[in-house]
């Protein structure tokens, strides 16, 4: 393969991963505030269908994307209401919505099967696109891919560099402490869950109006991305940058499976495709093992020096979730 083709391949990965990036960022925001939105898989399908349907009927691609975000926000609102206001298990509600929204998208999407609809085109950015390598990689993409780049930067900056972002970290970590610092915890949880939902909802149209144009119902090949995105969120350790990296890594491995097909003739293509998942589990193990209590017990048994060393090592790998993830906050 020439450098050119590799570059194009990588650029393709950046574009193809845009939807997952949105989903992962949305989930990260929501979980940072302490709410797990397990509905992703369904939300993405429903917003893909809804976004396409709207763009198709109004022949306005922007409206399509907005519709997708709206759908995502509404689903997230149900999750928020059920878990924050009604104190129901976030996991249960999210899971139910994941299945329901999927079937709903198939049921309502029938009329739009296979109809040719609007689709985003790449817009090379004048000067930047001519920069040797970077130009080909980053600046010959379509609008939604550019948006995904921005989204990564924005969420990262928001969480780690702004005042409200700092408060967001606090809310997910220890709501009571955030509360005495003047935060309206439950309101903020609503807000971030809904915003996160909107981002997740953006993933749908990012498929159906850009990278995988059109709606093909059950054979659209979108069912499953939501669950994948969920694992990537954990892999990302609730850090937008790391999460986005996870999304790209996943895309890269898929692409590798494709280009390696002629080489690894022994392995059916399906196996290469699934390679990311064992990997994902492994990383989950690495980042979580520090949280297991037998580790702490064995550490306690170790002599001072070794204990310190291992503790450091574990801390380095460890990505513990926001301490209050899934924990309702009630003042009295």
């Amino acid at each position: 393969m020439t450098q050119e083709t590799i570059l194009i391949g990588l650029a393709g990965i950046l574009a193809a991963s845009a939807p997952i990036v949105f989903a992962v960022l949305g989930e990260t925001l929501s979980e940072r505030a302490g709410v797990i939105n397990l509905s992703m898989n369904g939300t993405i399908l429903l917003s893909a269908m809804g976004g396409f349907a709207v763009a198709y009927t109004t022949n306005n691609i922007v409206l399509g994307f907005l519709a997708g975000m709206l759908i995502g926000a509404l689903v997230a609102l149900i999750v928020a209401f059920a878990s924050i206001t009604l104190n129901q298990s976030q996991v249960a509600v999210g899971f139910v919505l994941a299945l329901t929204c999927r079937d709903l998208s198939y049921f309502l999407g029938n009329p739009y099967m296979g109809v040719p609809g609007p689709r985003l085109q790449a817009i090379p950015i004048p000067v930047l696109s001519d920069i040797p390598i970077l130009g080909a990689l980053f600046f010959r993409q379509d609008a939604i891919t550019y948006t995904s780049f921005m989204a990564i930067i924005l969420t990262w900056v928001w969480i780690y560099r702004t005042r409200p972002g700092l408060m967001l970290q606090g809310i997910g970590e220890k709501p009571a402490a955030a509360y005495i610092r003047g935060a309206n915890v439950n309101l903020m949880r609503y807000v971030y869950t809904v915003i996160g939902g909107a981002l997740i909802g953006l993933a749908g149209p990012a498929f159906s109006l850009a990278s995988r144009a059109g709606w093909m119902g059950t054979i659209s090949g979108l069912d499953g991305f939501g669950w994948i995105a969920l694992s990537i969120t954990i892999f990302g350790g609730w850090n937008p940058a790391r999460a986005a990296f996870g999304a790209y890594l996943f895309g890269f491995l898929q692409w590798l499976g494709l280009v390696l097909q002629p080489v690894l003739t022994q392995v059916p293509s399906q196996v290469l495709q699934v390679a990311p998942f064992p990997l994902m589990i492994l990383t989950l193990l690495l980042v979580n093992i520090g949280n297991a209590e037998w580790v702490e017990r064995t550490l306690a048994a170790m002599p001072e020096s070794t204990r310190k060393f291992f503790a450091k090592l574990l801390r380095a790998m460890r990505a513990s979730p926001p301490a209050a993830l899934g924990v309702p906050f009630e003042r009295d």
Binding site: L38, I78, F81, A82, T85, L86, N87, Q88, S89, V91, A92, V93, F95, V96, L97, L99, T100, C101, R102, D103, L104, Y106, F107, L108, N110, G224, W227, I228, L230, S231, I234, P268, Q270, V271, Q273, V274, F277, P278, M280, I281, L284, L285, N288, I289, G290, N291, A292, W294, V295
Partner: protein
């Protein structure tokens, strides 16, 4: 207590009404007649003996999965990996069958071995999730999800790789097994009384396990208050593992039934989504084994009955999934609302 139970019933009825209301609205929105849709689904499931038999075919694995999940749920675990455990059960069963394909052991024995193989396969797969959870600190939801993908990939690999039909590789799965490998079916019907029996026995066992035994009680304690259970002298993490193993075995049994009584071979989507559907049933019955049978039957009926929708009304069958989901959703929401009311009542 009684009062709250009564109000519980009342609220459940409200949830039911709301669900059917919403689904009716969806149908009206695409100007289809709700009454006709529901009637067709009912006719398509309970209309005649043959159809009811089909319902039972779906009911068996669904009930088995639900039974398993009741165990993990009472240990406070969200075993979303059950889907993959069904798959591994099917794979293991297929493996045993293939192993004895040429042997001259009595078929009955081979079938039994195959079914046990399935249970072991499921249990092993569940054990992975359990180990990840107990020793790796990996939340069972994420571990389970990952393993689900791996399980499905494994099926596809086997079907297109080592176990593929001579020359061909197709979604129709591995070579069908000889008829004597199949659990005996009722005359002219596709349901195997054996499968049905096994499923019913399983749920009864689980019911008593959770209601009547020390094991079940300890499991509940672990599920409801890990810390206190530990101080009361219960080896908490062992019990967590046990619950995974039991659920895995039952899920594996469901997979075995899919192979031994329904498809007579390994097919790509052998689990038929029963794992996830089982989670829904468990949630809807609020983890009470008593209600498992009727609700699982109802969900199975929706699955089968919905086949009529495309044939008769040109509607997509996924409506059944929507209805199932909306039911559970409202059950949860309404339960939440109910608890809020009760709380209000206490405070004032």
């Amino acid at each position: 207590m009684l009062k709250s139970r009564f109000s519980g019933l009342l609220f459940q009825i409200i949830a039911l009404a709301l669900s059917f209301g919403v689904v009716s609205l969806i149908l009206i929105s695409i100007d289809a007649s709700p009454t006709e849709a529901f009637r067709n689904m009912f006719k398509g499931s309970f209309g005649e003996m043959r159809k009811f038999a089909e319902v039972l075919v779906a009911f068996v694995p669904l009930l088995l999965v639900t039974a398993g999940l009741l165990v993990t749920f009472s240990a406070g675990l969200w075993n979303i990996g059950v889907e993959g455990q069904v798959v591994l059960g099917a794979i293991a069963t297929t493996w045993v069958y293939r192993y004895f394909l040429e042997s001259d052991l009595p078929p009955a024995l081979i079938i039994t071995l195959a079914i046990f193989g399935g249970m072991i396969g499921g249990a092993i797969w569940a054990a992975f999730t359990g180990i990840l959870k107990v020793f790796g600190g990996v939340n069972e939801i994420f571990g389970g999800l990952g393993l689900n993908f791996v399980a499905t990939a494994l099926t596809i690999y086997l079907i297109f790789g080592p176990w593929k039909r001579p020359g061909v590789a197709s979604m129709s799965g591995t070579v069908p097994f000889p008829d004597e490998f199949s659990l005996p079916l009722l005359a002219n019907l596709r349901i195997s009384p054996w499968a049905l029996g096994i499923a019913l026995i399983a749920i009864i066992i689980v019911f008593f396990l959770l209601q009547g035994t020390y094991f079940g009680l300890k499991l509940k304690a672990v599920g409801k208050n890990f810390r206190a259970a530990y101080l009361l002298g219960i080896p908490t993490w062992q019990y967590a593992m046990y619950s995974f193993l039991i659920c895995g075995a039952l899920a594996g049994l469901a997979g075995a039934m899919q192979v031994a009584a329904v498809y007579h071979r390994l097919i790509p989507s052998i689990s038929s989504g029963y794992g996830y559907l089982g989670l829904m049933v468990a949630m809807l019955i609020n983890y009470q084994a008593i209600w498992a049978i009727p609700v699982a039957l109802f969900f199975a009926a929706l699955n089968i009955g919905s086949i009529q929708l495309p044939i008769v009304m040109k509607l997509d069958s996924s409506l059944s999934g929507v209805l199932q989901g909306v039911l559970v959703l409202f059950a949860l929401l309404v339960e939440g609302a109910r608890q809020k009311f009760i709380k209000k009542g206490q405070n004032t």
